[in-house]
Amino acid sequence: MSQIFHRSTNTFAKLSIFGSIFILAGIIAVIIAVNRSGYVTQAGVTREQPVPFSHQHHVAAIGVDCRYCHTTVEIAAVAGIPPTKTCMNCHSQIWSTSPMLEPVRDSYRTDKSLRWTRVHDLPDFAYFDHSIHVNKGVGCSTCHGQVDRMPLVWQHASLQMEWCLDCHRRPEKYVRPRDQVFNMEYQPPADQIALGKQLVKEYKIQSLTNCSTCHR
């Protein structure tokens, strides 16, 4: 009876037994990579909106402050999406016939809200409060990236728990002086850790890593 397999198959068999550990490790590495990719976290994905509102134009070119529209960012958990009235403050005068702004005018006329798509969507089991972060010296751009360079907003960070904990464990890596919180162009200085440690002390920032801090 002749042999079914060629002699070289032995090598393949040995190799696959030896290599199985690498194959397994490879599969795990791929799973981890996919989980952190923009495909899963939606980071870096531009979302379609009813009106192609450009932060780049309004913030960088015109110089509108964050708080003109996101009025409650310093006092409430949610930063606040502006009512249609806020848009119409200016756009009843300028670009008042632009077809791009028709949904805004329509909303104002018919008293029906615009339906924006949420870009930063935390899971419902995570609690987040804008006001405490802003008041303790966490800048807008630390989490949201340089929104003033986004024609349409995308999510800058992964919003995964390890990303939250990175700052919650060592806040001195990211905090900035309070007067720089709304500065989109702010770049951390070379001695960020030294400055951060000083600010953490001055602003009485606690490193809150208890589960129930966010999962209430």
């Binding site: 979302r47 409650t72 409430a76 249609t84 029906k112 924006w116 969507d121």
Partner: protein, 397 residues
Amino acid sequence: MTTRNGQFDFASLRAKLSNSDGQSYWRSLDELAETEGFQEFLYREFPQQADQWVDPVGRRRFLHLMGASLALAGLTGCTKQPDEPIVPYVKAPEDVIPGKPLFFASAMPLGGIAEGLLVENHMGRPTKVEGNPGHPASLGATGVLAQASILTLYDPDRSQTVTQYGEIRSWNVFLSEMREALQRFGANKGAGLRLLTETVTSPTLHEQLRLLLAEFPAAKWHQYEPVNRDSVRQGAQLAFGTNVATRYDLEKADVILSLDADFLSAGPGWLRYTRDFTERRKVRGNQHEMNRLYVVESTPSNTGAMADHRLPLRAVEIEAFALALATELGVSWPLPASSATAGSAWIAPLARDLKRHPGASLIIAGEQQPPLVHALAHAMNQALGNVEKTVIYTEPV
């Protein structure tokens, strides 16, 4: 062992018990007599022939399906979060911050007496009623009725619109109908026009009603409360010849006598009275003496439970008790006090204690007591020099 009509045959039961020896337990006469009804009940309680799930194939299949559906249900968690819309206001209402409550100062009138409230409001929806700390009659406290009043705001039976004969009508229809009806009364100065309200103490509403009555002089305004304070008013009438509003300052009172008055859980200002009363119950700082509370009452009440000395009397006996006490305190009253009143053992020591604290004692009469008791309470407070100290009279509201 039972007779035909279902009665127990006790003779045979006794015979059976005397014949049995050792421990034989029985839990009811039914069981002992072994009645038919009991056997039926026992069968139903422990049905020996009830269906058991003995089909092994069916049970396994069931477990298979359950396991599979559980596993598949877990898989549904492996999806991306669905897109979530943000729907902002078109024109944002003033002062509303999403996620932050807004508090409105309000008041809840009950029998014409208002209780100061703070109502918590989340984006236009009231969620909780609490007392207004800035309101002198509340000081941040509320009663059960105010706490429960939040539910009336969501009462499905509460009318949301104007209705006429059960049909929904617009406000304009109501106005035009009303105008037409009032025009008919214009000719005869409102004869036949009647207004029915609950007790009105609001100055604004009172002024509006006054203007309406000035236009229709022949119209009549009736105020009605099912549980009212008529005898309080008549008592004041009896004592002073005119109506007065009575307030008490319990912080200044060392000895308090309640004549069937549940002033710690009902009535005008009870929230404030409770606060002031308990303030004098605390022994701390340089306050070494507590106040003393005597309660004569016909129904157990919170006030009675707080009393140092409580005397249960029938409601009708309280008038005689008050009269006897007034006589003992030296109040001259046209009616003679009968010596043999219920609770007469109380009269002399109570009068002595009250007299020991002139200007710092207080006698409160219950709203449900007849006018005479109120008049006597006024007279006794006067005799004890409490007026302008623990008892304050103001213009009637």
